[in-house]
């Protein structure tokens, strides 16, 4: 069978389609009457909340650092938290930027590149939390206890140091596991991005 014949088949089926599809106008006009309200994008809401919390937390940390400049035992963990928090804010802001860059009317490759990058960042965001939480637990407790309870956790350093070290070990184990068993979706998205680049370079590769 020649491709020309397949093409002809496609055209014939196209004509038959006309008899089998019908737009249900009364239903369809509901679009305009506001009856159809798609769920607000959960992803956007999550990023906005993260951003808002991040900015509020940064403001708290700035005040805390300012109030404890004379005691490095408190401002050092606060600065560590601030650095990670600023990274998180920038990360979320970039996600938001990409989100609003999505235009489905753009060429397919362009829109897919942005959407895939966004999915990739979403996964990285989730997994980075697994590492950040144990790493930041110690500094977070020191700062939190001091500010909200007026408690100096260094007086419990006999317990605190093993806790701190254990969290480092947990974070190291998580990083090792993630490297050994990378997330499937993460891998697929990265592979799709790579395939877009290869296609743009003219590489055909496997089609199926």
């Amino acid at each position: 069978m020649e491709f020309q014949e397949l093409s002809q088949l496609w055209q014939n089926s196209d004509r038959k389609l006309e008899q089998n599809i019908q737009l249900d106008l009364p239903q369809f006009e509901e679009i305009n009457q506001g009856k159809v309200r798609p769920q607000m994008n959960n992803y956007l809401v999550t990023v906005l909340i993260e951003l808002f919390v991040g900015v509020a937390f940064q403001s708290f940390l700035n005040n805390f650092i300012g109030g404890h400049l004379a005691t490095p035992a408190f401002w050092v963990p606060a600065v560590l938290l601030a650095v990670i928090n600023v990274y998180s804010i920038v990360f979320n802001a970039y996600q938001l930027y990409l989100y609003f860059q999505i235009n489905l009317g753009e060429p397919v490759i362009e829109a897919q590149r942005i959407m895939t990058r966004l999915r990739l960042l979403e996964r990285i965001d989730t997994y980075s939390l697994l590492v950040i939480i144990p790493l930041c637990a110690g500094p977070f407790l020191i700062v939190g206890a001091k500010h909200f309870l007026g408690l100096d956790l260094y007086q419990f350093s006999a317990y605190f140091l093993p806790f701190f070290l254990m969290n480092f070990v947990v974070a190291a184990i998580i990083v090792t596991l993630l490297r050994l068993f990378p997330d499937k979706e993460l891998k697929e998205n990265q592979a799709f991005l790579d395939s877009i680049v290869k296609m743009e370079e003219g590489y055909v590769g496997d089609l199926v």
Partner: protein, 166 residues
């Protein structure tokens, strides 16, 4: 208010003229009829949401193909079309009423199956090509260079020929 009504009327008219496009895109990305319906609803909804950004200087079909393919590829890749859309859109009613096309020839069904085996971006290329778009138009919709499109289509045509034959 009047503008909104006019816009909606204009949109409905355009969708009526291009409803086959939506069906075909949904059909090559979803083999199950329920998933196909969900995807078509999603495409229509996204077309409506994106309609304010449509520039009438360009052909509506070019823009509609871009939106439809972008929605279909994303949903296909997310592999959760049914879960995500069923409750949001399907229960609202069906905007496209589908009959079961009576393909006289099994070959056309086979052709859809074979297209369904291709990678998502290659499916988009061949659907556009089979729909009679020139290489230049395919390149414009997809965002590839013309030479790139020609090379890929040549390979896909060969592959489809072999697949349908087998």
């Amino acid at each position: 208010m009047k503008t909104t009504e006019n816009t909606a009327e204009q949109f409905v008219q355009l969708i009526e003229q291009h409803q086959k496009l939506i069906w075909k895109v949904a059909a090559v990305y979803c083999s199950e009829s329920e998933a196909r319906k969900d995807l078509s609803q999603e495409i229509i909804l996204q077309l409506w949401k994106s309609f304010p950004k449509y520039d009438p200087k360009h052909k509506f079909s070019t823009w509609a193909y871009r939106v439809a393919l972008n929605v279909a590829i994303s949903k296909y890749r997310a592999k959760s079309t049914r879960k995500r859309t069923k409750h949001n859109y399907f229960k609202q009613g069906e905007w496209l009423v589908w009959g079961t096309p009576n393909w006289e020839e099994e070959k056309i069904e086979r052709l859809y199956q074979c297209i369904g085996k291709l990678k998502p971006l290659d499916r988009a290329l061949i659907v556009l090509y089979l729909d009679g778009h020139s290489g230049q138009e395919v390149a414009e919709i997809m965002g590839f260079s013309l030479s790139n499109v020609s090379t890929r289509i040549h390979r896909i045509k060969q592959l489809l020929k072999d697949c349908v034959k087998s």
